[in-house]
Amino acid sequence: MRGSSFRRIAIGAVVIAVVIAVIYGSSAPAPGEGFFGRIWPILNEFAFWTAIQLGLIYGFVALGVYLSFRVLDFPDLTVDGSFPLGAAVTAALIVSGVNPWIALVVSIFAGGAAGLVTAFLSVRFHILHLLASILTMFALFSINIRVMGSSNLSLARQETILTPLTSLDLGITAAQTRVIFIAVLLLVTGAALSWLLTSSFGLALRAAGANPRMARAQGISTSASTYFGMALSNGLVALGGSLFAQTQLFADVTVGAGTIVIGLASVIIGESLLRFRGIWIALAGCVLGSIIYRLVYQWALTKDQICLGFCLDFRPSDLNLIAATIIALALILPRLGAGKGSIR
């Protein structure tokens, strides 16, 4: 098992090295001098704060995906539907004059309900978990349009949970205020989640995912665990969707596409950077992974070439390919050296 932590560190090192090499190689004629001078100014201030803000928002998604993929061992694609569901419910409620905080809470419950539907299909009718979640996600597309009345809604000039804060004069920019607010919200959520997962109840949840047979023998209902975990996971993702709508000031039925990949990428990046030592670290890793993913994404949006000795034409739309490749590599690398006698 010593080898496992070594592999994690090795993967982390490789990921970081590739990211730095790509950034370094492509940032020639740099404004600054030396190594850091060439890396740092690649994002302007606006792009940087946007990246941090989206990284934190998708941090909620990463926590949700960690819960389904890692804790429950339930590969859940519902999130591609529950993220825009959170945004849609929030936008629809705010537009109709509901308090934005209430809209936020209702969004969480809407996401939770979506998770329950997937869990119900899987637990009650034994539909393969992956397929069950795809069905829910597919259906949510229609529901999201129903909720908004159209395929998108603008929240421009509407009151959001951030309006009272950004109208205060705190001596920092509106973007920084948003970042601090979301960071605090994420910290509170992360702390609550960490407390939950280390409690007796949460331990049962983790056991139900890791070894269902053992969990049942210990008196844990694995069905109940799946229902609860899936509701919580999708509630977190919908919370992210709600914050997305309230910070970006719009909701669109297409914003959910690829949510699962972004969430999974965040979880995997976090796992490779931070060794697993307790729940706190794992949750922090998810958020860190989400922020790193966004920084790379924002940087890539500003590029039209990637140079690694040679130069390739690059478009922001290529990022899906790169993200998928990184995830695949992160999943493959640990298995290469695993071999006999290793423990899952």
Binding site: M1, A210, G219, I220
Partner: protein, 264 residues
């Protein structure tokens, strides 16, 4: 106390693959009794254990534990009456969780699981004491992941886990079969200790004839889903492994004869 009456279990009923694993088993274990179950492959030993644990629901018959009819209860509900150790050392615990987390899971078996911290100082201290009794040095490794332990160590910890929360019945499913002889003997020692301390009604399935005669208070032999032999007390202490083997050959011989007749 366990009372099994007229227990029948049929797999794949009504299909060409139909298998009548248990064909009317009657067995009563008094409180504190330690019964060893032997039988050849397919005799129904593991099915009997699974049926009592709730993994397999009976086709017919009744299972009572402490005079409560649990025949229709799911596994998780029976867990407050039944504790188990599995044959596969990986099956009875979570490899990804630490030793103390596994112990905490087992300590709450069959009880409400609250939002309080799973591992308190008091709990950790009591875990340390219980694990120290094993004399494996594991009391200093409570924060190690369960997956780091050897098969024998995991079975020993599983036995401690099985005795942390109160239960009426302990089910052992060939829990030494995957271990080397030295470790198997050690785990049997721990088993005797745990059973004696907690005064548990125990049902142990085993492949080893000598184990079946030396361990526990009573030996039951299953064959083709029925109880073939049930000995205890003086009769049992006189029985030797050779006698048991002879009995085995006896029934085996009959089977062969039957087959020969069929073929003829």
């Amino acid at each position: 106390m366990i009372r099994v009456s007229g227990l029948e279990v049929t797999f794949n009923r009504g299909t060409p693959l139909e298998k009548r694993a248990l064909q009317g088993v009657d067995l009563t274990l008094e409180k504190g009794e330690f019964v060893c179950v032997i039988g050849s492959n397919g005799a129904g030993k593991s099915t009997l254990l699974s049926a009592i644990a709730g993994d397999v629901l009976p086709t017919a018959g009744k299972i009572e534990i402490d005079d409560i009819d649990v025949s229709r209860w799911p596994t998780a509900k029976r867990a407050k009456l039944v504790s188990r150790v599995f044959q596969d050392p990986l099956a009875g615990s979570c490899a990804g969780l630490t030793i103390e987390e596994n112990l905490a899971l087992a300590a709450s078996r069959g009880q409400r699981r609250t939002l309080r911290h799973a591992i308190t100082h008091a709990r950790r201290a009591s875990f340390r004491d219980r694990i120290a009794e094993l004399r494996l040095g594991l009391e200093n490794r409570l924060k190690d992941r369960m997956g780091l332990l050897s098969g024998g160590q995991r079975q020993a910890v599983s036995l401690v886990m099985a005795s942390l929360a109160p239960s009426s019945v302990l089910l052992l499913d060939e829990h030494t079969a995957a271990l080397d002889p030295g470790m198997a003997a050690f785990v049997i020692g721990v088993t005797n200790q745990v059973v004696a301390e907690s005064k548990l009604t125990t049902l142990m399935v085993t492949h080893s004839m000598s184990q079946a005669l030396q361990v526990g208070t009573r030996t039951v032999m299953l064959h083709e889903g029925r109880v073939l032999l049930d000995v205890r007390g003086e009769e049992r202490s006189k029985l030797t492994v050779d006698d048991l083997v002879a009995r085995f050959h006896n029934v085996r011989g009959q089977v062969i004869d039957d087959d020969a007749l069929l073929m003829g």
